[in-house]
Symmetry: C2
């Protein structure tokens, strides 16, 4: 049996700490320099050295204020606040790399699709086809309030709006400008053939966009679509649109079930299994020997923040765990709209959840020597059927540096990770083609409007 | 009398042609490579070599569709379409320069102030305090339609909304996070002191933003405010907010009157004359000798596009000049809401306007030897009272390269342009201080809420 290539994303965010609340206080952590271009150029170069497929940038537009009914614990612990816009570090990283892909989180709830489509086309041009978009609908009530809503739009309705949002941006990206519309004919003095630029005439329930896209076709047209929806409505959205899917399972058993369910639903939705790569969140802690790795983990745990962890959990689940006794076990509430992270925490005590989240956030930690970690990743792939990993940091860039130095060479030796990149766009590196395939909904829009 | 320093901006846009429609077809023009990072890194480096204060990036979110009642002429001639988002080239240029400022055009009509404030704070962080914001309210009906409006919001109402928009972003930038809120105390494990992060509690006619800013204070807090409003309502807005003002006068006489009127109105509004720099648009065409410069201008004129020029004029004035005979003189319509550019064209024929706009757009062209151009700029400053120039290109980067090679050394020799930059933020280089001064409306918000 030919071994499957393991896809690797680095998971980061334009803030301190990200998935390891409190570890910004570790002497070796540089995440509090997120404001500086130097942090991003260095990290991108480390990842490209390790042949990572992409760096995936999470984002929130609000503050975690469920725990203790206040944002103060999150602010005090720097738990994803302050948080800068992730989009602007992409062109900076693109300038010092040639192949690394970029997965940018952006919400369908807070920007009009017409202006958003231009942002992504611009980034796809500037990165020469290396942009991906992690589609989120936003879950923090605090964000909704600050853009003038009385409260967050309901969960399922957010996805209905998002489905139409996708239709609008797909039409702009795929069905507005023909491939040969822009000719820049200096002799005839024709920049663009106007007969090859088409109005999209979108007139829907939530959006009206009569006109044409503002940008000429970019290398990938539609960015690589990332999605992490885990509720049943979110999964329905993901199987329709996504090319890369992120899951956050705490155990191999739960990851395996999630992968199986997802693949079955994707097939029912008319997608082919190989068209969607599923990556699971993991935080590797690696050192030359097992003992050193375990000592490193013990050291990291000292810096993890209890209230920072429970602040994040509050935002993810909607539950204020300050109302429970730290030794009390969490009960699962069968509410599909609540972030599915909650399922993972059922039957654990508040203290155990805080410890689990304190290093590695939503995902598990793998601790060990280079060979142990490589073996463990290989086992995860074999047992669960995931296509790869979304690598979070305990400290940054240390976790990424360690992984690239110690684990990548072993995975490369085993033929599981590339030793060099192919040329071309991000999608081409993932799937072999620059554009989405013909039966993806984005290309369906294209086929219905443009000559093929 | 000590000579006044001349302030210099380069005027560009994330598209081909910009203010010289059709000149993308000149063999030496590279504006059709606007999609590539290399165009921007090269241009930025040329400008920094010439000690320019800033590069100013124009923008539109629509297509020019008034001329001939169609967007086709603009599309065919590449007249500011296709057009990419200007914001993403800023971090790219910042990475290859140390001092150049960036004036980014962004509209108050199409993005919520809460998310926009984060974008600008992020850019101010990444550029280490070199961001400026050219505040526009958007004038193209085609843009309004595509974000779902039935028609453009009326001119004066757009400015009312913009005034409140400014209040919201000022509160977020100036009055939400105290200077010493973020302490990153690794020993105590405190990232931010929550008692120093304040909700802005904005509850206005157009916006409700109860919460705090998402970003920690950036080097300048509020970006340097650029404005180009020329109508009476626009000027009222500019004298209240602006630090750099752009005018587009076709003659020294009209520039002088505009400067005088503006300064008087600014004083009445409580601003000090030296707090607002006024720059006028100009396109310099320079070569080692007068004859060579004139030959260069004649050559450029051959590539100017008649229908491209009239497409731009259609957008700027709201008038479809295709309805007039090319030899007919344009009559001034006394409609304050129509772009004031129209005033300049009154009493010229359609053909003359097309020729004027064809090279240099809204502003005049200065053609000559290095000394002639330097003398002419000096005369403009003396006669009109402007503080400097917004330099547009006929071809790019050629016009900028010529100016830096031939004219800058003469201006430096005369003590009118710096020979090197001072250290510090964009505002510090312009005005000597990182933050807005205490009586600017932005700082008034600060003073009312934070300890001073």
């Amino acid at each position: 049996m030919v071994k499957k290539r393991i896809y690797l994303n680095a998971f980061d965010m334009n803030c301190a700490g990200h998935q390891s609340p409190g570890l910004w206080s570790h002497p070796d952590d540089r995440s509090s320099t997120y404001k500086d271009a130097e942090y991003w150029t260095h990290t991108a170069q480390v990842l490209e050295k390790g042949c990572f497929d992409a760096i995936f940038l999470a984002d929130v537009l609000g503050t975690y204020d469920v725990y203790q009914g206040s944002r103060d614990p999150a602010v005090r612990q720097g738990a994803q606040v302050p948080v800068n816009d992730p989009a602007f570090v992409v062109p900076i990283m693109a300038q010092v790399t040639k192949h690394l892909g970029f997965g940018l989180t952006a919400s369908t709830s807070y920007e009009h699709p017409y202006t958003f489509a231009r942002r992504m086309s611009t980034l796809d041009h500037l990165t020469k086809g290396r942009i991906g978009w992690n589609v989120v609908t936003s879950y923090l009530n605090s964000a909704a309030l600050n853009i003038g809503l009385d409260k967050q739009i309901s969960h399922d309705n957010r996805y209905d709006i998002a489905d139409e949002y996708m239709d609008v941006v797909y039409k702009l990206w795929e069905a507005s400008w023909e491939d040969d519309a822009v000719i820049v004919d200096k002799v005839k003095g024709i920049y663009t053939d106007p007969s090859k630029v088409h109005d999209i005439e979108h007139d829907g329930s939530y959006y009206k966009v009569p006109g044409a896209h503002l940008c000429e076709p970019s290398p990938q047209r539609t960015p690589v679509i990332f999605q992490a929806g885990a509720s049943s409505r979110g999964r329905k959205f993901a199987v329709r649109h996504a090319e890369l899917v992120f899951i956050g399972a705490t155990t191999m058993e739960s990851a395996k079930k999630t992968v199986q369910d997802f693949r079955e639903e994707a097939i029912r939705a008319g997608r082919k299994p190989e068209e969607i790569k599923i990556l699971t969140l993991i935080t590797p802690i690696v050192a030359p020997t097992q003992e050193e790795a375990e000592a490193k983990y013990d050291d990291y745990k000292k810096y993890a923040s209890y209230e920072g962890a429970l602040s994040l959990v509050g935002g993810w689940t909607g539950l204020n765990l300050d109302e429970l006794d730290p030794k009390e076990k969490i009960q699962y509430v069968n509410n599909d709209a609540i972030q599915s992270a909650l399922k993972s925490y059922t039957e654990f005590t508040v203290e155990e959840v805080a410890e689990f989240v304190g290093v590695g956030g939503l995902g598990p930690v793998i601790v060990g020597s280079p060979t142990t970690v490589a073996n463990s990743l290989e086992e995860w792939v074999e047992v669960t059927g995931v296509d790869g990993f979304n690598i979070a940091y305990a400290i940054t860039p240390g976790t990424f540096e360690d992984f690239v130095e110690y684990v990548i060479p072993i995975l490369q030796e085993r033929g599981l990770v590339r030793k060099s990149y192919e040329e071309g766009t991000f999608r081409k590196n993932l799937f072999g083609n620059d554009y989405l395939n013909e039966h993806h909904p984005a290309r369906q829009h294209r086929n219905s409007r443009l000559p093929v």
